[in-house]
């Protein structure tokens, strides 16, 4: 066997072991991987650009050349869904990543030090949490204006307190563990204890929450675009497609079914991944 | 005649390598009014053996062979409903953590009363009187007030007393006590052990199967002792003779490992190695890799069960006629 084959064999072995430990994580992760690849490879997967109109075939039903049919401008729905995924996934990953960068250190510090620092960090978070997420996002979209990055930012602001809470709760639990006390007795600094001892043992619920929030981000992006506060036409977005397809629901149901299904698949993928993560991060085993 | 007669009990656990015996060919008897200590280190199968008799096993365990006769009935062949009734009426259990037997959301009085109403068919008033009497018997002061308290309001020792009150409420013929004092302080442990002895043995002539890792507890309250190692009973006998003259090398090693007054510092006898897990049990006698007296035959053949004197039994080649 060549070195490559050995490497491949090992990877497959690892995948199989992982699957045995947590089927949902692998199914969810695999689903998301397929969707992401399809989104990135969209130009090569469909012969039509998402904005290319074909006035000879408006509202055409699913066919070999247009698997998901066309819309009222004769644009290929499959191509638009795949390009829509680019927006959805970018918003999902971007908003959660921004939120994680801010929220993990805040939650860690609040949970580890507790007392007054905890209050200083958590009370403002409570204030943000007091507003329903959708209201806050709508308000911020109105305030910041429209656009992809601004939407990510708005979602990130909504997400920060949620992740801070999860991180804080997990850190609080781990900070009381005996091995943390032991590390302190052996002279480890607070920073070292937080990074080496608390964080690795407290991060799993944060990743689970992050995964769920990515799914919600896709829904929120769709909702915002649907009501006209998200991505602007003609950029393809799943929410926008739903809004536009609504008028033709009777004649061309595929216009709403395709983006609707696309949203369901992505959210399902993130939720499965979130469900499966804890099983993967059980007690560590060596080689 | 014995009250309980367990024969050839084998219980298996599901592991990554398939079903593996946690308890192998375990046989013992228990007479009315007798306390039998089932001792061994963690993982030796002592709890599994006792839980098998009650058929209280999880989904990852199954009884592969054996019988457990209580009177004329084989517990292992009974259907679940009949067994459930039996568990309340004639058999009862207490656990290491009394909280597992108590519902945290219901007052302890309700819990005791519920048990006696269900199994003894008493009305509310009679059940309350019975509950009060039981609380007094297990030494709970101010029982009227304690009836309306919740489990979390009790210390470990008090909770164990309440568990004991529930366990004796229907005058069981047999009590299985699974490490009932392991989580308690020594002074409280002594109180609970004394209660078990008076309430069950002296007053009710019930039989007690006491699962413990503590040889001191065995010496103090048991009549007979069965020593388990790696799923098998290696030695059985009355407590005095087993402690005075342990026949199996494992029993001897366990006794020698106890810190006592006579031993010099840093000179405690130890057993090299560790208890084998479910999936790496050695062939032949499971103890042979750690045994100072091991012979070649120990690695290949199961040691025979020998009865060197009345009431004593040991599974070791050292005690066979040619050994």
């Amino acid at each position: 066997m060549t070195a490559d084959a050995v490497q491949t064999g090992r990877s497959i072995g690892l995948l199989r072991r992982t699957y045995r430990r947590s089927p949902p994580a692998i199914i969810g992760g695999g689903l998301l991987l397929v969707l992401a690849v399809a989104a990135v490879a969209a130009p090569w997967l469909t012969p039509y650009a998402p904005e290319t109109m074909d006035f000879n075939a408006p509202l055409a039903g699913p066919s070999a050349s247009h698997p998901f049919g066309t819309d009222n401008f004769g644009r290929d729905v499959l191509s638009r869904v795949l390009h829509g995924y680019r927006v959805s996934l970018a918003v999902a990953i971007g908003s959660v990543a921004m939120a994680l960068v801010v929220a993990i250190p805040l939650g860690l510090v609040a949970g580890y030090y507790q007392r007054w620092l905890d209050n200083v960090i958590m009370r403002p978070m409570d204030v943000i949490m007091a507003f329903p997420a959708i209201v806050l996002v709508v308000a911020m979209a109105g305030f910041f204006g429209q656009g992809l990055v601004l939407m990510m930012l708005a979602l990130a602001i909504v997400y920060v307190p949620i992740i801070v809470r999860v991180m804080r709760g997990a850190a609080l639990g781990v900070a009381g563990e005996l091995f943390v006390e032991g590390a302190r007795a052996r002279g480890a600094s607070d920073l070292r204890i937080m990074v080496r001892h608390v964080l690795p043992n407290a991060i799993t619920p944060v990743f689970v929450q992050a995964s769920v929030l990515m799914g919600i981000a896709i829904l929120l992006e769709a909702a915002l675009s649907f009501i006209g506060l998200g991505v602007e036409p003609p950029t393809p977005s799943l929410g926008l497609m739903l809004a536009e397809g609504r008028s033709f629901m009777g004649r061309a149901p595929w216009l709403v079914i395709a983006p609707g299904l696309a949203i369901v698949l992505a959210v399902l993928g993130f939720n499965l991944l979130g469900n499966g993560l804890p099983a993967l991060s059980g007690p560590r085993r060596g080689r | 005649m014995s009250l309980l007669d367990v024969r050839g009990l084998t219980t298996e656990f599901r592991t990554e390598q398939g079903w593996r015996p946690a308890v192998s060919d375990v046989s013992f008897t228990l007479d009315p009014g007798e306390i039998l200590g089932l001792v061994g280190e963690s993982g030796c199968g002592k709890s599994t053996a006792a839980y098998s008799v009650m058929k209280l096993l999880g989904a990852n365990a199954r009884i592969a062979a054996g019988e457990a006769w209580l009177g004329g009935e084989n517990l292992l062949a009974m259907d679940d409903n009949a067994l459930r009734k039996l568990r309340g009426d004639r058999l009862s259990m207490i656990f290491q953590d009394p909280a597992t037997a108590l519902d945290p959301a219901i007052t302890v009085g309700e819990q005791v009363m519920e048990t006696v109403r269900e199994h003894l068919g008493l009305d509310r008033r009679a059940a309350r009187a019975r509950a009060l009497e039981l609380f007094r018997q297990v030494g709970i002061s101010d029982p009227e007030r304690r009836l309306s308290a919740y489990p979390h309001q009790f210390s470990g020792g008090m909770a164990q007393r309440i568990a004991l009150a529930i366990a004796i409420s229907c005058n069981p013929e047999m009590l299985i006590a699974d490490e009932p004092t392991t989580a308690l302080d020594v002074t409280i442990q002594a109180q609970i052990l004394r209660l078990i002895k008076t309430l069950l043995v002296t007053e009710r002539r019930s039989a007690v199967l006491l699962i413990t890792h503590d040889l001191g507890v065995v010496a103090q309250i048991c009549d007979r002792v069965a020593v388990m190692y790696a799923g098998r009973i290696v030695e059985v006998g009355d407590v005095r003779s087993v402690f005075a003259d342990p026949l199996h090398p494992y029993t001897r090693a366990l006794l020698d490992a106890l810190p006592t007054h006579e031993v010099a510092r840093g000179a405690l006898a130890t057993i090299e190695g560790r208890v084998p897990g479910l999936t790496d049990r050695p062939s032949g006698c499971s103890f042979h890799p750690r045994c100072p007296h091991a012979r070649p035959v120990c690695a290949t053949e199961l040691p025979p069960r020998v009865r060197p004197s009345p009431g004593r039994e040991v599974s070791c080649v050292l005690h066979t006629a040619d050994g």
Binding site: P200 | I188, A190, A257
Partner: protein
């Protein structure tokens, strides 16, 4: 006599219980006196056992010595310097010389670190010796406690309870400390493993001239392992004596009942347990006077009014009991509790 390595001087730790911050401001919050005025000396090279049941405050005492908790009062003097008043740098140096081993081998090791990294961490924290030497030193430490380099590559979940406890011991030894506080190091272990661990500790003590503060609930182990014993009840030391003396002539009624409650592994010596009545009272609301008096078979009137002090009954043997000392306000009267 030489200065003790460790001296506890009227050490106290009170934990607030329940109540909100408003109660705290108005002084309504009650306190548990987990440790209530403990004075003790530990000499270089000796093993002092601190024995007590749950709620006696023995583990809190161990954490106070290590300054894992800040005392509410009193001093911890290590080689004459007050640990309580140490600044960050001094504390860091103190923790090089004093180490703690915990009871629970399951939660005392970080489940996400390899064994070798756990043992090595103190060396990294203190930048002790050349970096290149540390893997070798780690391996030597593992071998010293009876583990191998292969164990070093494993995660804690792959080791047995006894092996994990050895890892905790190896990590505590890494910086060659002088003082080790061992908080119930064997109570979670099986008998045979407990014996191995105790032997290892005794062996290490001999080879490194360690001083041990050995916290335990198990008087049986104490007899085998300790030079001196201090018995704690509800935050106070009720008796302190050389081990042999304590076992031969226990003075305090609590010590006596504790000794009689140990189940002796000898069926020919079945004891008629002299048990204290009832449960230990709650440390939130301890009885007035001597806190043992409601359970004590010898309680006198004075015991309910006055707390006895820990006073010498013989050279090197102290007890806090009016049976062995005159009460301050009146002569002891026999007779008794309501």
């Amino acid at each position: 006599m030489a200065e003790p390595l460790l001296r506890l001087d009227r050490l106290a730790k009170h934990f607030p219980v329940g109540g909100s911050w408003i109660d705290a401001l108005t002084g309504k919050r009650s306190h548990v006196k987990a440790v209530d005025g403990v004075s003790l000396d530990v000499r270089q090279g000796e093993t002092l056992a601190i024995v007590g049941e749950s709620g006696s405050g023995k583990s809190t005492l161990g954490r106070l010595v290590m300054r894992l908790l800040t005392p509410s009062g009193g001093q911890v003097l290590y080689k004459g310097r007050n640990v309580v008043a140490m600044n960050r740098a001094e504390l860091r140096q103190f923790r090089r010389q004093a180490q703690i081993i915990f009871q629970d081998p399951f939660s005392s090791l970080n489940p996400r670190m390899r064994i070798a990294d756990i043992v090595r961490e103190p060396l990294d924290v203190y930048q002790d010796g050349a970096r290149a030497d540390r893997p070798g030193r780690t391996e030597a430490l593992l071998e010293r406690v009876g583990l191998t380099a292969a164990h070093g590559r494993a995660y804690p979940s792959e080791l047995s309870g006894g092996q994990r406890q050895r890892v905790g011991i190896a990590a505590a030894l890494a910086l060659s400390p002088e003082l080790i506080v061992a908080d119930e190091p064997t109570s979670a272990l099986d008998v045979s493993v407990q014996a191995q661990t105790l032997n290892l500790l005794a062996d290490l003590q001999a080879s490194y001239h360690l001083t041990f503060v050995f916290i335990t609930h198990d008087l049986g182990i104490v007899h085998h392992f300790a030079d001196r014993v201090a018995v704690m009840y509800l935050g106070r030391i009720v008796e302190e004596a050389p081990t042999e003396t304590l076992f031969r002539e226990p003075k305090h009624p609590y010590t006596r009942s504790l000794l009689s409650a140990i189940p002796q592994p000898d069926p020919t010596k079945r004891v008629d347990w002299q048990l204290p009545e009832g449960e230990p009272p709650s440390p939130v609301d301890p009885p007035a006077g001597c806190s043992f008096h409601p359970r004590c078979p010898h309680a006198m009137d004075v015991c309910a009014r006055q707390a006895p002090t820990l006073a010498p009954v013989e050279p090197g043997h102290r007890a806090a009991c009016f049976l062995h000392q005159p009460a301050a306000d009146s002569a002891p009267q026999t007779g008794m509790q309501s």
